[in-house]
């Protein structure tokens, strides 16, 4: 088929893939920060959910998406600190703590939502002015490329016109890389995830580093949650994270704990999802129409195959998951 035609077909899918990738990307980077410092976090889901609720509520309360973002981030950091206290200060089991965080968020969001708004945990529906909507980045380029087909369409649907958080998530990737691999803080943080004893004997506080990492993790989850409730949709709905936290975790392993790989992994997941959506109900050449479930299963099945086929072993930071004690 002719290139423009193909682009017309691909552009929407790519755009949708990107939109679906954003929350995964935020969460995945969050996990990266936490686990690079040696704190395993399966509570990403819960933090996202809590943030989604907080941002939804705050945005409605103060009629500003920014208030939402702020609240989302703060609340998520709060949850992150609980996890930090349990796994860093108390040397508790990090997975149990993560599970607890997930339960806590699932219950508390709906509970408070019910008490405050009496809509079964839903936060009030947000006006356009209270949300992060697509910002017009056309800059004439879209027009120059020819409005609504071919490259023009790619520009307007894949590159331009997304909401602020989308670009923020993309910016977070190089930022994460730069901080972790180009600064003192990053050096120490990666070190503490690999051999905390080395950091300790070098006279740097292990706990201090890990707490800071956990806080960044919280902030990023906050962005993820806000994106869900205040950008993608117009308010919080119970359990609206729908397992994205776990997919993000998968992406993190997939990405071998590296920022740019994380970008790739999340885009891949997003794209697979978008394709699954697009392909639903369309007959396959040769086979004819296949059950919806085939396409719904596609992203998960492909992930497994890719992992077993191409990715090979991915080794987590050596000290991740292990509480730090001075003696062997």
């Amino acid at each position: 088929m002719d290139p423009t035609g193909f682009l017309d077909l691909a552009a929407p899918v790519l755009g949708s893939g990107l939109r679906l990738a954003v929350p995964l990307l935020f969460a995945c980077l969050a996990g990266l920060w936490s686990e690079r410092s040696g704190v395993v976090d399966i509570g990403l889901e819960g933090k996202m959910l809590a943030a989604a609720f907080a941002s939804g509520a705050a945005a409605a309360q103060f009629h500003s998406p920014w208030a939402g973002l702020l609240a989302g981030i703060l609340v998520s950091i709060g949850f992150a600190l609980i996890h930090g206290f349990a796994s860093i200060t108390q040397r508790g089991n990090q997975i149990v703590s993560g599970v607890a965080i997930n339960f806590l968020a699932a219950g508390l969001t709906v509970l408070l939502g019910q008490v405050w708004y009496g809509q079964g945990g839903r936060t009030p529906q947000l006006e356009a002015s209270e949300r992060f909507l697509g910002i017009d980045l056309d800059l004439g380029i879209g027009r120059a490329l020819g409005e609504s087909h071919g490259l023009g369409r790619v520009w307007s649907e894949v590159i331009a016109g997304h909401n602020l958080l989308v670009y923020l998530s993309l910016a977070a990737v190089p930022a994460t890389w730069w901080i972790l691999w180009r600064t003192r803080f990053g050096l120490r943080l990666r070190a503490v995830g690999d051999n905390p004893h080395a950091v300790d004997t070098a006279g740097v506080s292990v706990a201090g580093l890990r707490y800071r990492a956990v806080i960044v993790c919280g902030a990023l989850c906050g962005c993820a949650g806000t994106y869900l409730a205040v950008a993608q949709s117009a308010g919080f709905v119970r359990d609206m994270t729908a397992g994205k936290g776990f997919i993000a975790l998968a992406a993190l392993v997939f990405a071998k704990w590296k920022p740019f790989n994380a970008l790739g992994a999340c885009l891949l997941f997003g794209l697979l999802d978008a394709m699954a959506i697009r392909l639903q109900g369309t007959p396959l050449p040769g086979i004819g129409t296949v059950p919806v479930q085939v396409f719904q299963a596609l992203p998960y099945a492909l992930t497994v195959i890719l992992l077993a086929g191409f990715i090979g072993r991915s080794i987590p930071p050596k000290a991740s998951g292990i509480p730090y004690t001075k003696d062997r």
Binding site: L187, R190, N195, D200, T201, A202
Partner: protein, 511 residues
């Protein structure tokens, strides 16, 4: 040397430390003159590491004070210690293996928030240090890829980079080859001459005699003796440590070699990256003899042992144990063929530290019918066996139900040895049998190996300790870059063996 008028660099005054009810350090008084090298010896668990850890701010003393250059100081954390100019090279290295030498040196002493400038500065300093102390090492090398000796150099560089005036080394030579050790000592002397104060913990009394100015002996948490090195002897130190006379020289009769039990023929081995680590290695070990392999660590000895034990599969060549070709067999099958293996790293391979001692006795033998009780394991049988082993090897504490991690290195090593010799294997592979082990334990282990030889077992010994090689072996092979570079009788001089280890075989040494 003349005792200077100025106050000692370090003074421990009544230092006392308990772990739970373990009295690790009892009211320690110790003064160390600036610019001297001070030795600290004692059995496993005597309290040496603890005392040093206190000086380095890693543990807090329960009582007592520390003075540096006469000034009373409180050292609450490693950070404090570093600020006070104290540097420590720990028993197990404190390095981030996935990072470069440069990053490891910088860690915690970066200076600027951005790395780039800090790295530039560090490179310059490293170059300087390299020139001053022949501490040459590629700053961009990944630590994981370095030999143990090099890794230790990194540790020393770390302390110097932080401008340490007082240097603590905990068993620095436990993992070094003679050459590397010699190199290390040259560096230490240089540092001492420049007025730096050095505290050296080691189990090797010869080293104490060689480079320290003074030496203190610890036993059960106390300082039981202190000598001017010049005025003491290995024997007196040993006696002070253990509290009884110790036989340092293993006395052994001549060997009566029998049939060939282990035969290695033209074995090649490439690692994952395809680099050749064993190059047409051939050797044989007969019943009733100990063959020692001398060589600088990382020249294929470990790989050779693992290839024979069935842990690595040779790319080509034949290996026969008791006449059975074992190439391609798994470790368990090789064991059945009559081989036992004391691995060189007990913590990494020889033990499961979280298992009880008796469960460690099972490792590799879990499907031995002796332990079987129908489908189940026969706990009482295992317990009985463990008990006998514990008495037999005098392993302390005398409680096989304790986690292996709670035993000192010496006793941990005895557990491994006990397990491996229990089934009187025909062929025994022994790697670094006495690394990090106190002389009491060394004596016991050596005796046992000789006894096995005399009972007609074939023993292949790999050790970084030339002394150990020479005192135990009946024949010595030298290895270099994966090749056997020479063979000689154990009584030839260190220099010849050294040459062979370097890959140049001077004529005449071939026996």
């Amino acid at each position: 040397m003349s005792v200077s008028a100025l106050p000692p660099a370090i003074e421990f005054i009544g230092i006392d430390k308990r772990f739970g009810a373990v009295h690790a350090n009892r009211d320690i008084d110790l003064a160390i003159e600036a610019g001297t090298i001070h030795g600290l010896v004692g059995e496993n668990g005597a309290g040496k590491s603890t005392l040093m850890s206190i000086l380095y701010g890693f543990y807090a003393a329960d009582r007592g004070e520390i003075r540096l250059h006469g000034r009373k100081t409180t050292i609450r954390s490693s950070a404090d210690a570093i600020r006070q100019g104290i540097g420590m090279v720990h028993q197990q290295f404190m390095l981030v293996e996935t990072m470069s030498v440069l990053e490891n040196v910088l860690l915690g002493a970066e200076g600027s928030p951005r790395l780039a400038p800090a790295e530039a500065r560090a490179r310059a300093v490293l170059r300087q240090l390299a020139d001053d102390y022949e501490l040459t090492i590629d700053p961009d090398a990944l630590v994981a890829d370095l030999s143990v000796g090099e890794q230790q150099r990194v540790e020393i560089l770390k302390t110097l980079f932080r401008g340490a005036e007082i240097l603590i080394l905990d068993e620095p030579t436990a993992v070094l080859t003679p050459a590397e050790a010699a190199h290390l000592f040259r560096i230490l002397r240089r540092l001492a001459q420049e007025g730096k104060t050095i505290l050296l913990i080691t189990h090797k009394l010869k080293e104490i005699m060689a480079i320290t100015d003074r030496v203190s002996v610890m036993r059960a948490g106390e300082i039981v003796a202190e000598f001017e090195t010049a005025e003491t002897s290995v024997e007196r130190l040993a006696e002070a440590m253990v509290g009884r006379r110790v036989l340092l020289e293993v006395e052994k009769g001549p060997s009566v070699p029998g049939a060939v039990l282990l035969e290695v023929e033209a074995v090649d081995l490439r690692d994952k990256r395809g680099v050749s680590v064993l190059d047409r290695v051939s050797l044989e070990v007969r019943a009733g003899e100990i063959v020692g392999i001398a060589g600088v660590a990382g020249n294929g000895q470990s790989e050779l042992i693992e290839a024979i034990a069935g842990i690595r599969r040779p790319t080509s060549g034949r290996i026969t144990v008791c006449g059975r070709d074992v190439v391609g067999l798994g470790p368990d099958e090789v064991r059945e063929a009559g081989l036992a293996h004391i691995p060189e790293d007990r913590h990494r391979m020889g033990l499961v530290l979280d298992f009880s001692a008796e469960e460690n006795m099972l490792l590799g033998h879990e499907d031995d019918p002796a332990w079987a009780h129908g489908l189940l394991l026969d706990r009482s049988a295992i317990r009985r066996a463990a008990m006998t082993a514990f008495d037999d090897f005098d392993i302390r504490p005398d409680d096989p139900t304790l986690r292996a991690a709670l035993f000192s290195g010496g006793n941990q090593q005895k557990i491994v040895v006990a397990r491996e010799v229990a089934r009187t294997p025909r062929v025994l592979l022994v790697g670094q049998p006495t690394r990090g082990v106190d002389i009491g334990a060394i004596e016991a282990i050596h005796r046992r190996l000789i006894a096995l030889r005399d009972q007609g077992h074939a023993i292949l010994l790999v050790s970084a300790e030339l002394d150990e090689i020479r005192s135990l072996s009946d024949r010595v092979l030298a290895m270099c870059q994966g090749r056997i570079t020479g063979e000689c009788r154990p009584d030839v001089g260190e220099t010849e063996i050294g040459l062979m280890m370097a890959g140049v075989a001077p004529e005449g040494v071939r026996a």
